[in-house]
């Protein structure tokens, strides 16, 4: 309840800081937007060229496959990479002015949403050009569901790692590795369900939060590749991640200033 009330009261703070983050990162709002859209496109092009004749052989529409992966990945990792250090970088402000601190890591996610929307439009254009036969209704439903999952997972991770980084400063050294580990153990470049043969490792890769989001999203494009049951399961999973992040954050929030 208290959380909801502070969200309403501080909504202007939230959007002002979202704008501030973009402004500070790129100095120029339009360049930021442009780069946010270009980066996943370029990455997809590079990996498409590199992997199309090996990994891509078993996946129809490989470019669309990895581009959809990079769209979600760049939102997730782009926001997390700014959010996890946000309390260390803004310690001056946090020590001296009160505001609901849980909003700060989430503003970084909000700053990535314009990129995401534009990227989704580009993806749809790509779908039309390459003549993939999609059912618009299902596509929209699964897109919507995967967006919800992305928001939940992202909010949870941003909150979680922002306080972990305050408690364990060494985490800053671990983060680049963690980020890459999440990237390569998820279904961005390849289908983990088909490629991993070991029965113990496969579920771990499948429950990589990014894999679960992509599973849902790609079902809207390639409907024969999955089951609805799993989508429901993955949505619940995303909720658990979000709740876990929030609870962990709240338990650390009380003494956050004493540790900064």
């Amino acid at each position: 309840m208290e959380t909801l009330r502070s969200i309403r009261k501080y909504s202007e703070f939230f959007w002002t800081f979202t704008w501030r983050n973009i402004r500070l990162q790129y100095n120029n709002f339009w360049f930021g937007l442009f780069w946010g859209v270009m980066q996943p496109l370029l990455m997809s092009a590079i990996f498409y060229i590199a992997l199309n004749n090996s990994v891509g052989v078993n996946i129809p529409q490989y470019f669309i496959y990895i581009y959809s992966g990079f769209i979600f990945w760049s939102v997730f990792s782009g926001s997390l990479s700014q959010a996890y250090v946000c309390f260390l970088q803004n310690d001056d402000m946090i020590k001296q002015i009160y505001f609901p601190r849980f909003l700060l890591p989430i503003t970084f996610l909000a700053g990535k949403l314009p990129d995401l929307l534009i990227a989704l439009v580009i993806l749809m254009v790509t779908l039309v050009i390459s003549g993939v036969d999609i059912q618009v209704g299902w596509f929209l439903i699964y897109s919507f569901l995967s967006l919800i999952q992305l928001l939940l997972v992202s909010i949870g991770s941003n909150l979680l790692f922002s306080v972990i980084c305050v408690r364990y400063r060494g985490f800053q050294v671990v983060y680049p590795f963690m980020s890459q580990a999440i990237f390569f153990t998820s279904s961005i470049l390849y289908n983990v369900s088909l490629s991993i043969e070991n029965e113990w490792i496969r579920p771990i890769f499948e429950f990589n939060p990014i894999s679960t989001i992509l599973y849902t999203f790609r079902l809207g494009i390639f409907p024969e590749d999955g089951q609805l049951v799993k989508v429901v399961l993955f949505t619940l999973y995303a909720m658990v991640i979000c709740a876990l992040g929030y609870i962990w954050f709240k338990s650390e929030d009380k003494n956050l200033i004493d540790r900064l």
Binding site: K9, F13, D92, D258
Partner: protein
């Protein structure tokens, strides 16, 4: 009653240099006081007596180990004045960011911006990045924004130590105006002449405890 502070204590764990054991160190111990509308309280005490910690607990930045703070009304902190400012943003942009931090609506700020900028004396530099501001200019801008808010409670941590004499006098006048219009003020202050000219009560902190609150 506007503000009531009830039995606030705050402890930090410190390592005893001799035994190597972790011991609680009480930065504040059983501090209680109340603030009425229009009160102006001077918070005095030596360095490390817990003045800043108390202000941070009142503004809910720091969680007390035990005790409660009850606030009715809006509260504006003037703790670290430049906190929240960023050198890469212009004065105008910083004003909006700062305002959003302390809970002023964008619309309200837009209406008062001219007045605020005039008071701070930075009209010429409003659209210049903050990195070319002097420290005094930043302080003036921050004070100007907060004081135009007309909060119910103003917390000021040694702010009158910043700025030149002229601006200090301006600040003092502004604080008196605020007090007249009903704002209650808690200020950390050591200058006795100043205390006498604006404050009606003094709170003395000694090693984290409130000494006789009516000692003068």
């Amino acid at each position: 009653m506007l503000l009531s502070v009830e039995n606030i204590s705050k402890s930090y764990l410190v390592k005893d240099p001799e035994t190597g054991k972790k011991m609680p160190f009480w930065a504040l111990k059983d501090v209680s006081f109340e603030l009425e509308k229009g009160d102006c309280v001077a918070l005095v005490g030596t360095n490390g007596s817990g003045k800043s910690t108390l202000l941070k607990i009142i503004s809910s930045i720091v969680t007390p180990t035990s005790g409660w703070v009850k606030i009715q009304g809006s509260l504006a902190p003037l703790l670290g004045l430049n906190a929240g400012f960023h050198d890469q943003l212009t004065g105008r942009e910083n004003a909006y960011v700062y305002a959003s931090l302390i809970g002023i609506k964008r619309k309200e700020l837009r209406q008062k911006l001219d007045e605020i900028v005039d008071f701070a004396g930075i009209s010429l530099f409003l659209d210049t990045k903050l990195r070319s501001y002097s420290n005094g200019m930043k302080t003036r801008l921050a004070f100007s924004i907060v004081s135009h808010l007309k909060p119910d409670i103003l917390l000021a941590d040694e702010i009158l130590a910043f700025g030149d004499k002229q601006f200090q006098e301006l600040c003092l006048k502004k604080m008196k105006d605020l007090k007249k219009s009903g704002t209650s003020i808690i200020m950390v202050q050591h200058n006795e002449k100043l205390i006498q000219s604006i404050c009606n009560r003094t709170l003395l902190l000694k090693n984290g405890r409130l000494s006789d609150p009516d000692f003068n």
